[in-house]
Symmetry: C2
């Protein structure tokens, strides 16, 4: 007997940014696995059960969810943002690949959501308006040398960079080093956006130059967007500046 596993993205934090598809998936499921603060965003019924786990236990959480689904439960794994961007969908796939055969027979559905860089971009203009990339700064999951190579490669190639997992208590120096590397490649006037809790009441957004970018402005929940040499800032009277990356290269300037 095989149940169902739905991996749901709740978006950046505001209930207004949860899709109807995600809400319906939550309403239909019975057992919920996730990081505690994400589960706290759900209003569950009495017939729905939650199994909270710590932030760094993605793989064991995925396995527990698959085990419950394989036993016939209708299971929901909760992600913030989009589950496919540095989140639970890849952990579930890894667990399936390495797990028992019947896990491949589970009805697996992944429900996309608005990922952090999109909401931070929307609040600041259109910094992702042309080619861009998303890079996790966590060297728990890949060697730091790989991260350095990627930062240099994408900045040199002219892509805007969205950094996920920029900093944590266990990883205090990486973001500062990333800024130092990028200052070797990009103009020091390049705009840098620190976006936290975009669209929520506790939202905190700031725009600085790469010269002034300070890792202390970020925490675990911040998405940092670093422009390309093309990215521009429009000052506005009595409003926050707009940051945007033009759709075209080479014709305007």
């Amino acid at each position: 007997m095989s149940g169902k596993l739905v991996v749901v993205g709740l978006g950046p934090g505001s209930p207004e940014q949860v899709t109807p598809e995600a809400s319906a998936a939550v309403a239909a499921a019975r057992v919920f696995f996730g990081y505690g603060p994400y589960l706290d965003r759900l209003e569950l019924r009495d017939d729905q059960r939650r199994v909270a786990s710590d932030n760094r236990e993605e793989l064991s959480r995925a396995k527990a969810a698959l085990k419950a689904a394989a036993a016939g439960e209708h299971v929901c794994v909760i992600s913030g943002g989009d589950p496919g961007v540095f989140a639970m969908a890849a952990a579930v796939c890894e667990a399936i690949e390495d797990g028992p055969g019947p896990w491949r027979e589970i009805d697996l559905v992944i429900v996309p959501g608005v990922t952090a860089m999109l909401s931070v971009a929307a609040r600041s203009g259109a910094p992702l308006g042309h080619d861009f990339c998303a890079i996790s700064l966590s060297d728990n999951l890949k060697p730091w040398t790989v991260i350095e190579q990627r930062l240099r490669a994408v900045a040199t190639a002219g892509l805007v960079i969205a950094l996920y997992n920029p900093i944590s208590k266990a990883r205090p120096w990486q973001l500062g080093t990333a800024f130092a590397i990028l200052r070797e490649v990009l103009p020091w006037t390049t705009p840098v956006i620190f976006g936290r809790a975009a669209g929520r009441p506790d939202e905190r957004m700031s725009v600085v130059t790469l010269a002034d970018a300070d890792a202390k402005q970020a925490d675990m929940a911040t998405c940092v967007i670093i422009g390309s040499a093309e990215t521009r800032v429009i000052e506005r009277p009595d409003r926050a500046p707009l940051v945007y990356s033009p759709r075209s290269i080479g014709e305007r300037r």
Copy 2:
């Protein structure tokens, strides 16, 4: 007198993937500017007016919308997917930067949405599960040499690549050339996903190897995702394969 301009992302196509925030923004606005097929997705009231324009008229559409907002209208500019990803938000910012001063005083709100690569990824597993980039293949907006350099740089650096605007009648050869370039850098077994209308009734998804990737499988509405050397395919009995990029590098293989 200055009105309001809301740039709204309707997501990939399914009404179930339109956020409540986007629906509320549409309900509140009075004049709608957009590409005809996107406007067709709205159910407008009698007191709401639509101004449709062609797909390649982003800048003139943005100017017309700003002009109406500056005249005091409550204006909505409609994008498919997310307005900040190769869509209308950057065009509006460009128009503001080059336009008359009062346009900077307009109350501008950008409402994010689920962009195509996220919905295509969700339907196929977790191909964007680690570092990735989004590149527009349109050489209307940048020189082809820049596109070639970027493709080589990001593939060499190990990022998964989501290609937007892969092909059109006026740009028939670019996608095939992109595959040829990527075959010089990536293993020919690298998974390639062609995703069209993900989440809609006319959805069409396919997974092939880079060796077999054929530009004829794509059209204007397709998002093409090309894995990295790390991206894996899980075969499943009686189900589509899962494609995913592991969260970590260097520890599993």
